[in-house]
């Protein structure tokens, strides 16, 4: 997406009442490159809600640049798996509240497993970690928020993976954001009520216009989910 389109989309979501925006460059880590940062300042100037930048941040210096341009938070995924101590370094430098760890996970043989380099199907691989172990570890290392992307649900629009999110909620003492599977307003209700997550992330249903954020918020308030109107 070119920068002008990002600004336009960000403005639209701001005006529609999105509570937070995440900017992903999911292809960043696999190709050994980082996101072009010039757009972050332009986003920061027009957004009056929190936003997080994800993709290819592999060092304290890169994180400092992203935060300095006006992002609230940085999200790391594959680089944390390759270099878990990066979480400690980022957390002690910027505080846990800035450090989001994204986890791509799916069910394998009745267990949940973490996957790495999921932005590139040819490089995606099992990281040899159990998801519950990694969730515990990243918290100990100083993650302030976890985004759990349930890969099997991602893009399918049949609902969030409630079983997996509930299992992770049990051991997750920091804010937990559900990702992957949103296709209908009921899916958002279910993930808040059944899995007790702190936030629900979705992309395609909003981009396509299938769900309008104001309608979704009205629905969730009717369902007695406590959210910002």
């Amino acid at each position: 997406m070119v920068v002008g389109d990002i600004i336009e989309l960000a403005s639209r979501y701001r005006d529609e009442g999105a509570d937070e925006l995440v900017f992903y460059d999911i292809t960043a880590s696999p190709h050994g490159r980082t996101v072009d940062r010039s757009w972050i300042t332009r986003i920061a100037k027009i957004l009056d809600i929190p936003f997080c930048v994800a993709g290819g941040i592999k060092s304290v210096a890169e994180a400092e640049q992203v935060l300095g341009e006006g992002a609230e938070k940085i999200s790391i995924n594959s680089p944390a798996l390759s270099d878990p101590d990066l979480i400690n370094r980022l957390s002690s430098r910027f505080g846990a509240q800035c450090v989001v760890v994204g986890i791509d996970s799916q069910t394998v043989d009745n267990d949940f497993r973490v996957y790495q380099f999921t932005g590139d199907p040819t490089r995606t691989r099992d990281s040899a970690r159990r998801t519950v172990d990694w969730v515990r570890e990243v918290q100990e290392r100083g993650a302030g928020e976890i985004v759990l992307n349930c890969m099997a649900s991602d893009g399918v629009r049949t609902g969030y993976d409630l079983a997996q999110l509930k299992a992770v909620r049990q051991i997750c003492k920091v804010p937990l954001i559900a990702s992957g599977g949103a296709g209908a307003p009921e899916h958002f209700r279910d993930v808040f009520m059944d899995a007790q997550v702190d936030g629900a992330l979705a992309a395609s249903v909003f981009h396509s216009g299938n769900i309008a954020i104001p309608d979704l918020k009205r629905y969730l308030i009717e369902q007695h989910i406590p959210i910002r109107p």
Binding site: R14, D19, T41, A44, K45, D48, I49, P50, E64, L67, G68, E69, G70, A71, E72, R93, F94, G95, A96, Q97, C98, G144, E145, C172, K173, V174, P175, L176, D198, G199, I227, R228, P229
Partner: protein, 201 residues
């Protein structure tokens, strides 16, 4: 809109002070990010932002030799997030003595009822006392929080927020104001809070 405002933002060293400056710009006000005592003393309004640990922030103010300057400010002075926490006597975070402009000790959220810490997200304000800072605010106004520590409710509390317990969301004593939320990331409610602060004479 606010033509006579000369705003000094104390450079407390946080990595993301930019977002506060942009929020001020959106109000049509320019600001100076500074550790210069003269600029701070001569400002009509002063904001102390804060990101990171209380002890680190206090350390930076001490090394910049700014504590006396801050203690003697007569103009409207607003602490935001950790900047608000520093206004109190002490903080449990790093067990550090703070500025002592407001009574009480800042404590960590107890993880009560399994509530996640940090407290992160949007909550409304429960207004306890009217103030120019809360002009035109209603309890339908939601603000954005990211914090693990909070200030107790006391005589200086103007508004509270509930997260497992009530904590001081907005405080004031004379010219000293504090906001635990991030007004720069609190949409229209945050802009109203900053606008109200800059309108205080």
């Amino acid at each position: 809109m606010l033509p006579s405002v000369r705003l000094a933002i104390i450079d407390s060293g946080g990595a993301n002070i930019a977002s506060l400056r942009y929020a001020i710009e959106r109000l049509g006000v320019s600001s100076e990010l500074t550790t210069d005592k003269t600029v701070i003393r001569n400002a009509t309004h002063v904001i102390l932002p804060g990101v990171g640990a209380a002890a680190d922030c206090m350390g930076r103010l001490e090394r910049a030799n700014l504590v006396d300057t801050i203690l003697n400010l007569q103009q409207p002075f607003l602490g935001i997030c950790v900047g608000m926490q520093l206004l109190f006597e002490s903080s449990e975070e790093g067990d550090v003595d703070c500025l002592g402009l407001l009574p009480g000790r800042v404590r960590r959220f107890p993880n009560r009822d399994g509530l996640p810490v940090p407290h992160m997200g949007w909550n409304n304000l429960e207004i306890q006392h009217p103030s120019p800072l809360l002009k035109n605010f209603t309890e339908q106004d939601y603000v954005y929080y990211v914090h693990s520590y909070c200030a107790p409710v006391s005589d200086v509390t103007l508004a509270t927020t509930y997260y497992g317990e009530h904590f001081s969301a907005i405080v004031q004593h004379e010219n000293i104001f504090g906001a635990q939320c991030h007004p720069e990331r609190s949409a229209k409610s945050g802009a109203l809070l900053l606008q109200n602060f800059l309108s205080i004479l």
